[in-house]
Symmetry: C2
Subunit: 194 residues, 2 copies
DNA sequence: GTCTATAAATTGATAGAC
DNA sequence: GTCTATCAATTTATAGAC
């Protein structure tokens, strides 16, 4: 009846979907997955409860959609190679920059990831994926430290991984005013990447 | 009626109380506070729902009891001074050992602490307390690094704090087989504490 | 495409029996 | 000291009106 084209309908659907996802991410991240009700999401998104079930099969499916879409963005950034990098120092420095760029641009999302990685349940699978990628990066960092002539490259990489996780944890947990740039700068200094 | 003395009754009460607290801590830590129901706690403790309300006013009071009792243990350990320590290196090394001793002995509890520190809600107050103590330790570490002749003592202390948090996060999040001792050893090496 | 009304199950919490 | 029975509120999820 109404003269809307299929494209316009699709746009509206996408907007509604994204609106729900955005509200859900914010609540999941701030209050936790289990303690966030569908009603709360609907209220935050300014819509009715019923509409959510029009776009997502259930609460768990909603969470998985959030994780999948956001994880995609993260992977895209990590996979881009940079041919202009010459020294292992530059390479490591670049990786660190990319990691924190992703974290900075997806603060609420990463708080949710950390939250889920600590809990059994729905998000466990995602936590496993995250850990697998972490291992890959440890391997890469080890080889780079090795090329740098560091004495214990594997141990160094492991420690760097813990340090990055720690800074990320403090950053996403702090309300604001966290000296992220200072921490990154001093981190690079301490690992001879400057 | 029954010939039980007041002391015996008190012992039974204490046992039941501790039994509930233990079950609740385990579930809160593994599945999160909000997603753990009173029914689940009762089942895990092998008792009825009603009994829980005989010992605790409600779910929030139960959580606070857990935090208070466990936090007490932590404070006791941190506050003990050691007069035999001479060099700032030894002092810092000792502090690090104490921190990880507490974390190691209360793994599930610290996972809960981190969990709560990331979420708004019931545990926020505890997270604030934890952060305050963190600041005190940063100050102490700064002065010790200063006495060691480190160039940027405050930045160094801040980075050490993040590293400790990161190792702790990985340790409590990992199922097992985390190389905690290796990480601590290499951490001390990298900060010239050996 | 969105909403309201409602069903069915679960939650935190209480009262009273033993 | 412990349990069972039960309440009121809230939860996820569905069906049907517009």
């Amino acid at each position: 009846m109404s003269p809307k084209s299929k494209e316009q309908i699709e746009i509206i659907r996408q907007q509604s979907r994204d609106n729900i996802l955005e509200a859900a991410l914010d609540l999941f991240s701030n209050h936790g997955y289990e303690s966030t009700s569908i009603s709360a999401i609907a209220k935050a998104a300014g819509i009715s409860k019923g509409l959510i079930y029009n776009y997502f099969e259930g609460k768990d499916h909603l969470l998985r959609s959030i994780l999948e879409s956001a994880m995609k963005v993260g992977n895209d950034i990590f996979d881009q190679e940079d041919d202009e990098i010459r020294t292992p120092q530059e390479h490591l420095s670049r990786i660190i920059d990319q990691v924190f760029l992703v974290i900075r641009n997806n603060r609420v999302f990463w708080r949710l990831i950390i939250l889920l990685s600590l809990q059994k349940g729905v998000g466990s699978k995602m936590a496993e994926m995250s850990q697998k990628q972490n291992k890959r990066q440890i391997t890469k960092a080890t080889s780079l430290f090795s090329r740098m002539g560091v004495h214990k490259p594997y141990k160094e990489a492991l420690l760097l991984g813990a340090l990055i996780d720690g800074i990320a944890l403090q950053y996403v947990g702090m309300q604001e005013n966290y000296p992220l740039d200072h921490q990154i700068a001093h981190l690079k200094e301490r690992f001879d990447l400057v």
